[in-house]
């Protein structure tokens, strides 16, 4: 996952290197003039990043103000860390932290192993047509919008003519109101995630498995290894690095639960377990108009997030991985 620009090795770099000394001799203005079309091409994108990425970063200062829309940014009063104090003293803070971390933990335990298991099972399939067909099917849910996923959940689980409750009534004689009960919220979210992303998650493991040398299996067979032993001693170790790095990267976003999914399944009846940082920021900021307070909450989350990402990246490097930044 290297995002840094790598200088291109090969014939091109020699030419590029040769052109640098002559370029250095010309003045900056001449250089800018020579590449004026390139700068024209860069301009829209650069403007985009400045306006929609960097102006909002500067807007973080709102968190330290008592921002009033009619006064504007320049005239609003500065209040220092007041909003953060209010937030940390709020009993809702612990509810949000608990809900956010619990959901992340559930996803780690129940969702994370799924793509690995699925990839291992697919790897044992020797009929290429069957394998391709299954892959085609299980990648579909990844491309479906969260609104559709939530809608499917609703029509399947509703107590009024939903498929699941229809079966429950027929065979168990009772109905369960999954959508409105707090105890069913987390399982529902985890099942949605498993259904939507397990299939697509196999891609990275299957790519790693495709690189395993067939001779290793042949050698193992010569040594009398059965299928189970081959999987344990050859297949699994070959994706161990991928597993470790994905696991560590996941640590970096334990505070991100995915706004859309939670927001769509959230309702007043399950709020006590469903409200997370992202939905709280939306509710306080957009719905209730507490811009400064919700910016402070968002900033708290972002800062913890960056620390976690950099920390996990550092950890990944210590494990001998390349890291992302």
């Amino acid at each position: 996952m290297k995002l840094r620009a790598e200088p291109n090795r090969g014939a091109g770099s020699a030419l590029a290197a040769a052109s640098i000394p002559s370029a250095r001799r010309t003045s900056l203005a001449a250089k800018l003039r020579k590449d004026k079309w390139i700068y024209l091409l860069l301009a829209p994108g650069l403007l985009y990043f400045l306006i929609f990425k960097y102006v909002p970063m500067w807007g973080i200062l709102l968190a330290f103000q008592d921002y009033q829309p009619f006064l504007g940014f320049w005239k609003s009063e500065w209040v220092g860390f007041d909003h953060f104090k209010v937030f940390f003293d709020n009993p809702e803070f612990f509810m949000l932290l608990r809900n956010t971390l619990t959901l992340s933990f559930y996803n780690l335990i129940f969702f994370f192993p799924m793509p690995i298991v699925l990839a291992l099972l697919l790897n044992e399939v020797r009929r290429a047509f069957f394998k391709r067909t299954i892959q085609t099917l299980i990648y579909v849910p990844h491309f479906i919008s969260m609104v559709i996923v939530a809608s499917l959940t609703y029509v399947l689980l509703t107590t009024q003519g939903g498929f699941v409750n229809g079966l429950l009534e027929q065979y168990a004689g009772t109905k369960i109101d999954f959508l409105a009960s707090p105890e069913w919220f987390r399982p529902m979210i985890v099942v949605q995630t498993i259904w939507k992303e397990s299939g697509f998650g196999t891609i990275i493991f299957l790519a790693a498995l495709a690189g395993v040398d067939v001779e290793q299996y042949e050698a193992a067979i010569m040594d009398g290894a059965n299928r189970w032993r081959q999987a344990w001693h050859i297949t699994l170790p070959s994706i161990r690095n991928t597993i470790v790095i994905l696991l560590i990267l996941r640590m970096g976003d334990v505070l991100d639960n995915g706004f859309e999914q939670i927001y769509l399944m959230l309702n007043p009846l399950n709020r006590e377990v469903a409200e997370v940082f992202d939905t709280y920021v939306y509710m306080m900021g957009i719905t209730q108009g507490a811009f400064s307070y919700s910016t402070a909450v968002g900033l708290f989350k972002a800062v913890v997030g960056v620390i976690l990402v950099l920390g996990s990246n550092w950890l990944a490097k210590r494990f001998g991985q390349t890291g992302i930044y």
Partner: protein
């Protein structure tokens, strides 16, 4: 594939594996099959007994209803418009910037790259971005759904790297023939990049069609809602209202609506399923895998 020792256990495992995978594959699309079947079912059948794939009665009432309503048709039109216009803007912004960044020796190139990389790590967050969009007077316009996400930094870097890997000799030859930077992009680089651009076109377009969050944030005017917001309104919010209502009359309305809800879900999913074969062809080839693996 290699020949492996086949024991009884091995055969049993294979059989079980095929069955399990077939079931998982079925589970991935089963909800769609149910919803498609349900959208063609008559109103009463859905609540009276739970069927799965084949309804007893067949009716196209739900679709006729959808095509007769202004609100749903309008939202479909909005979504199509946003998808087409938004993808065009995405491509224009991504390609121009990626091409500029692919040129080595451009003054300030590294600074711009660092600017982009940092924006991937840290952002201003929801509220400041919302306020920027509001200050620009973009609320309740389609531009609010198009401009704030005009470039995906991730896609930008992949396209930039692709441009960089094109053979530099092509460029030199064209330059000698008197080709300017702009016509170089238009006449040499873009035609060579068609497969990559097709992939990003599809990914951007799917993103726009599926986008719910931006519309929730920036669009309050129901006449400008895209289908995803309308869908939530029809399927999810009426559901919650139903949870609190308890009258027999309401149940009748509810019954009548169930197949319509399913039909709207089908309409929302269909475009994705139509482009899916093309999508799959591309990501299976590894444009995105390569980027993730490093």
């Amino acid at each position: 594939m290699n020949r492996r020792y086949r024991s009884v256990g091995s055969t049993v495992f294979d059989t079980a594996n095929y069955i399990v995978l077939a079931l998982i594959g079925f589970a991935a699309i089963a909800p769609f099959l149910y919803v498609v079947a349900g959208s063609f079912a008559s109103d009463t059948e859905l609540t009276r007994r739970s069927f799965f794939l084949i309804p007893h009665s067949f009716s196209t009432m739900a679709y006729k209803y959808i095509f007769s309503t202004d609100t749903i048709m309008k939202s479909i039109g909005n979504s199509l418009y946003i998808t087409v216009a938004g993808t065009a803007v995405n491509l224009l912004f991504t390609v121009t910037m990626a091409y500029g960044l692919s040129k080595r020796g451009i003054y300030g190139r590294n600074a711009i790259m660092n600017l982009i990389l940092f924006s991937m790590l840290f952002g201003g967050g929801l509220i400041p971005t919302y306020l920027v969009v509001r200050e620009l007077q973009l609320l309740d316009t389609y531009w609010a759904l198009i401009l704030p996400g005009a470039i995906s930094a991730f896609n930008l870097i992949i396209v930039k790297n692709f441009f960089q890997e094109l053979p530099p000799e092509l460029e030199e030859a064209a330059k000698i023939d008197g080709c300017s930077d702009l016509s170089l992009l238009w006449r040499i680089v873009l035609p060579l990049s068609m497969p990559v651009l097709a992939t990003f076109t599809l990914f951007y377009a799917v993103g726009h069609w599926n986008n719910f969050f931006s519309a929730l944030l920036y669009i309050n005017d129901p006449a400008r809602w895209p289908l995803q917001v309308m869908l939530r309104q029809i399927v999810l919010l009426s559901q919650m209202a139903a949870g609190s209502a308890d009258s027999v009359d309401y149940n009748y309305v509810q019954e009548a609506q169930q197949s319509i809800k399913m039909a709207v879900i089908v309409v929302g999913t269909l475009p994705i399923l139509l482009v899916y074969p093309f999508l799959q062809k591309h990501f299976a080839k590894g444009v995105l895998i390569g980027s993730v693996k490093g």
